[in-house]
């Protein structure tokens, strides 16, 4: 067996976290890591363990079809509320996105804890501020998000191409509810 492939196999196997090609190269001290990773991935095809790439970082994991043997409980590793699930999806499909934009899409304010839960899980991070009025803080997903949900990259997000084509990921047209005459609204409210 190719010595470089062996070395990469051992390094990834021993690592407690996924490793980028650069990090692997620092350990094995050689060029040609990418080609060797390809060979290694082929070696593991169809086995009980597989070599996967998630957001540019590589790790070994058990084959998904063996989940039933390994799952110790039916409990999800981290139960997410509906609000947190929606918020995570909005961040992933629209990133970088401000809190106000998340709220506009959901049509409701998000409670303080919702983003905290996602950040604590290591799936969402802050991603600078948007230049413009108020310089709102922006949120984006992390490499751990891709790892956890088994996504090679954000392009792998379920249905992202269809949503994009349907215009559903375009910047939100704010203020459609304000598009109608504000006075009119107020007078109707008093009527009610």
């Amino acid at each position: 067996m190719d010595e470089l492939v062996r070395a990469i196999e051992a390094t990834l196997f021993a690592s407690a976290t996924p490793l980028s090609v650069e990090e692997i190269a620092e350990h094995v001290g050689e060029a040609g890591v990418e080609v060797a990773l390809g060979k290694l991935a082929v070696d593991y095809e169809g086995r009980g363990i597989e070599l996967v790439e998630r957001g540019g970082r590589w790790h070994f994991q058990t084959a998904p079809d063996l989940a039933h043997l390994l799952r110790r409980t039916r409990e999800e590793p981290r139960r997410l509320s509906r609000a947190a699930t929606e918020t995570l999806a909005i961040v992933a499909y629209h990133e970088p996105v401000s809190r106000a934009e998340i709220e506009a899409i959901r049509g409701v304010q998000i409670s303080k804890g919702t983003l905290d839960v996602l950040m604590e899980a290591g799936w969402v991070r802050t991603a600078g501020r948007r230049e413009g009025p108020g310089r709102p803080l922006l949120y984006a997903t992390t490499p751990e998000f891709l790892t956890h949900f088994g996504l090679s990259s954000r392009r792998d997000l379920p249905g992202i191409d269809d949503l994009k084509a349907a215009g559903l990921l375009d910047p939100l047209d704010e203020g459609i509810f304000q598009a109608l005459n504000q006075e009119q609204l107020e007078s109707e409210e008093q009527e009610d």
Binding site: S15, L80, L88, I90, H148, G150, P158, A179
Partner: protein, 249 residues
């Protein structure tokens, strides 16, 4: 979260309508729309407006506290409906149809995020469906010191050690003095010239150094006393503080 709105026997006295079950008016609208059609692009906005206002009216009939944002939405929808039904106003920008379309897009977008969120959670997740290595050995970073020292540092250090441990040696720096021996030797040599009385200052060497001159004067005076004791010269002073005179004996 949910109260299924359309299963709801409106008008029943035992009914407790819980608006807290909805995450805002948009959530309620989306549920109504989904009950109407699977494909949100096909829903009837006019029908949706009626369903929403009926629902809110039902809640109000039960004298429930209804949050203001639900009422604002109801009013806005009623207004949108009237705009859609009234003869077209060519001046209106955006047109009521466009506003209706945007509302529909918003519902579709929220629905899409809800659906993709569920799909994300259903993927093969690490720790639930796939597992990473249970007990990785871990990769370690070992820091190694690359010690820096130059040859000069080394030699200087040895110099310091030797200097520190050498037996102490006191070197007195050459100072501008004339020793007594030098003065005796010099005055004896010059006595041959002193047939007559000479001022003692005539025996001093020519110098610009005032310290050396003082030292030479003092030494020469002591030398004169010594030579006088040996009977080699005579010393005379006419009065206190007058110049000292020296003559060969």
């Amino acid at each position: 979260m949910g109260v299924e709105p359309l299963d709801f026997p409106v008008g029943s006295d035992e009914l407790t309508l819980n608006l807290d079950g909805w995450e805002g008016p948009l959530d309620l609208l989306l549920s109504l729309a989904r009950a109407q059609k699977v494909d949100l692009a096909q829903i009837s906005i006019l029908e949706l407006v009626d369903q929403y206002t009926t629902y809110i009216a039902g809640a109000r009939a039960l004298k429930l506290e209804i949050a203001a944002d639900y009422l604002v939405m109801a009013a806005w929808l009623a207004y949108l409906k009237s705009c859609l039904l009234l003869p077209k106003d060519p001046q209106a920008d955006p047109s009521p149809e466009e506003v209706a379309l945007r509302l529909q897009m918003r519902l579709q977008r929220l629905d899409a995020m809800r659906e993709t969120g569920a799909r994300l959670l259903g993927r093969d997740r690490v720790g639930r469906d796939v597992f990473v290595r249970g007990a990785p050995e871990g990769l370690r970073l070992v820091r190694k010191s690359a010690w820096q020292a130059s040859a000069f540092d080394l030699f200087a250090a040895y110099g310091i050690v030797k200097a520190r441990t050498q037996p102490p040696m006191h070197v007195v720096h050459a100072r501008s003095v004339m020793t007594l021996d030098e003065a005796i030797e010099r005055v004896s040599r010059m006595l041959g010239l002193a047939i007559e009385w000479l001022d003692i200052e005539a025996f001093l060497p020519v110098t610009d150094d005032p310290l050396f001159r003082r030292s030479a004067l003092a030494s020469s005076f002591v030398a004169a006393l010594e030579l006088a004791r040996r009977g080699r010269l005579d010393i005379a002073q006419e009065e206190p503080f007058a110049p000292l005179k020296v003559r060969s004996a």
